[in-house]
């Protein structure tokens, strides 16, 4: 139980928020808006899972926002070239994976600090995309939106897809050796090496996998509207990192789990709409979100302090 104290506290906070909404703004609970809210946040969840893996591995990837944009635009262009949807999907994932592979090889192979590497790649991809595309929206062909399904069907598909990814990953991290190896490497790479695990390979794989997830997320986002905004990834990295740490994953790696990340993301995702429903002025939003993040970590800091230095 103690191990899960953080996840629980986040979940309780979320519960409190939802309860408060139920009392003061019942209008929040309407099927259709909630459905589209969930659908809109589904891609973020998938990306956040990728980020969680990276952070558990004691690395960080601040380039996923840029990766997201690149994947979205590429997916859009391919769809525009009338590729079949499955092909576009796999292409988007492949592109994401290869972008991740570049980060991975620089971090794991050359041993550069991940935050610096991904800072550099972030700037490069983002500006490069602007340079090539000038920020023009990509128009998608008819019938591409919602994967050609009916709207609600499409939304459900996206939500279920995201949840499946979450559940599978959570199980994978808990019950499959590979998952535990990620924890091991994040906890102490040298010890992992002595135990016969290859930290560099694991790290590399994690970056690639995270990239692939970002590619998937991008596709899930593209499928929700008839046009692609090349800036769609802006700020995604901060959003996901916030969700991950609020969800109780230690930034120093090796500790935390995906359920917490899920709770953290839900909390942050509901916050925005909640504020609107409670008629809070827009210009308070950033401040409130910031305080929520701080409160989450401060609350965590309390019991971490007793365990000596971090």
């Amino acid at each position: 139980m103690k191990a899960y104290s953080r996840e629980v506290s986040v979940a309780l906070t979320l519960g409190g928020l939802l309860l408060g909404l139920a009392i003061f703004a019942p209008s929040f609970y309407q099927a259709q808006p909630l459905l589209s809210l969930a659908a809109r946040e589904a891609p973020t969840l998938v990306a956040a899972c990728g980020m969680a893996l990276v952070i558990l591995c004691r690395q960080i990837d601040i380039s996923i926002g840029a990766q997201f944009s690149v994947c979205s635009v590429c997916a859009g262009l391919l769809a525009g070239a009338h590729w079949p949807i499955p092909l576009v999907l796999s292409a988007s994932i492949t592109i994401g994976a290869s972008l991740g592979a570049l980060n991975g090889s620089l971090v794991a192979g050359l041993g550069l600090p991940s935050i610096v590497v991904t800072l550099a790649t972030m700037v490069t991809w983002r500006e490069g995309l602007r340079w090539l595309r000038q920020g023009i929206w990509v128009d998608l062909p008819e019938g591409f939106q919602w994967f050609g399904l009916r709207q609600s069907a499409g939304q459900w598909t996206i939500i279920i897809l995201a949840l499946t990814v979450l559940v599978l990953l959570a199980l994978f991290m808990k019950h499959l050796a590979a998952g535990r190896f990620i924890y091991a490497v994040g906890s102490d790479a040298e010890a992992a090496r002595l135990a016969g695990i290859r930290p560099r390979r694991i790290t590399f794989a994690v970056f690639v996998f995270a990239g692939a997830l970002v590619g998937l997320a991008a596709m899930m986002n593209v499928a929700q509207s008839p046009q692609v905004d090349p800036n769609s990834g802006t700020g995604l990295e901060l959003k996901t990192i916030a969700a991950v740490v609020v969800g109780g994953v230690a930034i120093s790696g090796g500790r935390g789990n995906l359920w917490g990340v899920f709770a953290g993301l839900l909390l942050l995702a509901c916050l925005g709409p909640a504020l609107t429903h409670l008629h809070v002025q827009a210009y308070w939003e950033k401040a409130i979100q910031g305080s929520v993040i701080l409160l989450a970590v401060v609350a965590d800091g309390g019991h971490r302090r007793n365990q000596g230095s971090p």
């Binding site: 550069l112 500006e127 040298e190 790290t203 120093s252 409130i288 401060v298 302090r305």
Partner: protein, 348 residues
């Protein structure tokens, strides 16, 4: 004598290490110098009016705010920390300055002092959370990153803009003083002060110690917590200073001032060879790093390249410089596999 052999082995080992250490320190900064020189040569040859005095001053003027932030960031990163909130704090301070001056009807100098105080307080807030609650700096400052920006927007509702500052104040950001941009002397003095602080005082020494090993520093009787608080406080103070100069340069203060500056500052710092894990790095390295980026941005404008190219090249430059010096290090140590893999030495 005990362990004559031991001393023999160690002697060689030591020589290897010291030689390596020296040459490396030399290496990174010389790489940067080469890059800088190369940039300068290229733009001087290819660009129009790149080498004029005015332009040199432009480069200076445009990189003062980021330079200030980068200098403060250097101290922070030396302790193994990071401060993502400086950009937002710049915005908040700009707004505060405007409020003090226009709404509270304070004289400019008083507004400045108050703003500096506010900046220091905000930085101290970061520092306290980090040092006393032992929270990871990345997360704390990620939180304050949006908190400070949020407060700035809340104060002005986003719409309010402070303008019509007295010319005597705008002088600070727009005019020349002894032929130099007025903010240049401030920057130079601050840079000098930072260099002395980091390289010639016990304070700077203790920052490195903390960066290498916080616990070790604590056992050595270094007041780790107060030092850490001090560093973030300094960062806040610097952000406020940058905010004032920024306001003077633009002649207006608004909640969106300094968006994204934290990343520019960090880029300059790491490009300058400061280790993100703490302990290693130098102020002049940071200055070189910032200069390399500033010249690139400005020069590309003089060969008529759009800004996004500048951004792209900055990213590539960062990658090249880092992997370059890392690669040279590998060569020097001949793939000495006895040191643990990078992740193991990382303290987040």
């Amino acid at each position: 004598m005990a362990g004559t052999g031991e001393t023999k082995v160690l002697h060689e080992y030591r020589q290897a290490m010291t030689v390596l250490g020296k040459s490396l320190r030399l290496r990174h900064e010389s790489i940067l110098l080469l890059i800088l020189a190369a940039e300068w040569l290229f733009f001087a040859a290819a660009g129009r009016n790149f080498t004029t005095l005015d332009n040199t001053f432009n480069i200076l003027r445009h990189s003062v705010e980021i330079g200030l932030l980068a200098l403060a960031m250097t101290a922070v990163v030396l302790t193994g920390g990071i401060d993502l909130s400086v950009g937002s704090l710049l915005g908040l301070c700009a707004v505060l300055f405007g409020t003090f001056w226009r709404d509270a009807h304070l004289p400019v100098w008083a507004a400045m002092l108050l703003t500096l105080g506010a900046g220091a307080a905000a930085g101290g807030f970061n520092g306290t959370l980090i040092a006393w609650l032992r929270l990871p700096p990345l997360i704390v400052t990620l939180g304050t990153f949006s908190l400070f920006r949020g407060l700035a927007e809340a104060m002005t509702r986003g719409v309010d803009t402070f303008t019509d500052f007295p010319a005597s104040f705008l002088f600070l950001g727009q005019e020349r003083w002894l032929g130099l941009p007025a903010q240049a002397p401030i920057f130079v003095c601050f840079a000098g002060a930072m260099w002395l602080l980091v390289h010639c005082t016990t304070f700077g020494r203790s920052l490195r110690a903390i960066g290498f090993s916080p616990e070790g520093a604590r056992y050595a009787g270094i007041p780790v917590r107060s030092r850490v608080v001090a560093v973030y406080l300094l960062a806040g103070l610097t952000a406020a200073m940058a905010a004032i100069i920024y306001t003077a340069r633009l002649g207006q203060a608004k909640a969106d001032a300094g968006v994204g500056y934290e990343l520019f500052a960090i880029t300059g710092v790491v490009l300058g060879g400061v280790s993100i894990f703490g302990g290693v790095g130098s102020v002049h390295g940071t200055l070189l790093g910032v200069a390399a980026i500033a010249v690139l941005n400005n020069g590309l404008a003089h060969v008529r390249q759009p800004r996004e190219v500048a951004g792209m090249l900055t990213g590539l430059l960062l990658l090249l410089a880092l992997s370059g010096s890392e690669f040279l290090k590998r060569l020097a140590t001949r793939r000495d596999r006895c040191q643990p893999s990078p992740a193991a030495t990382e303290k987040a």
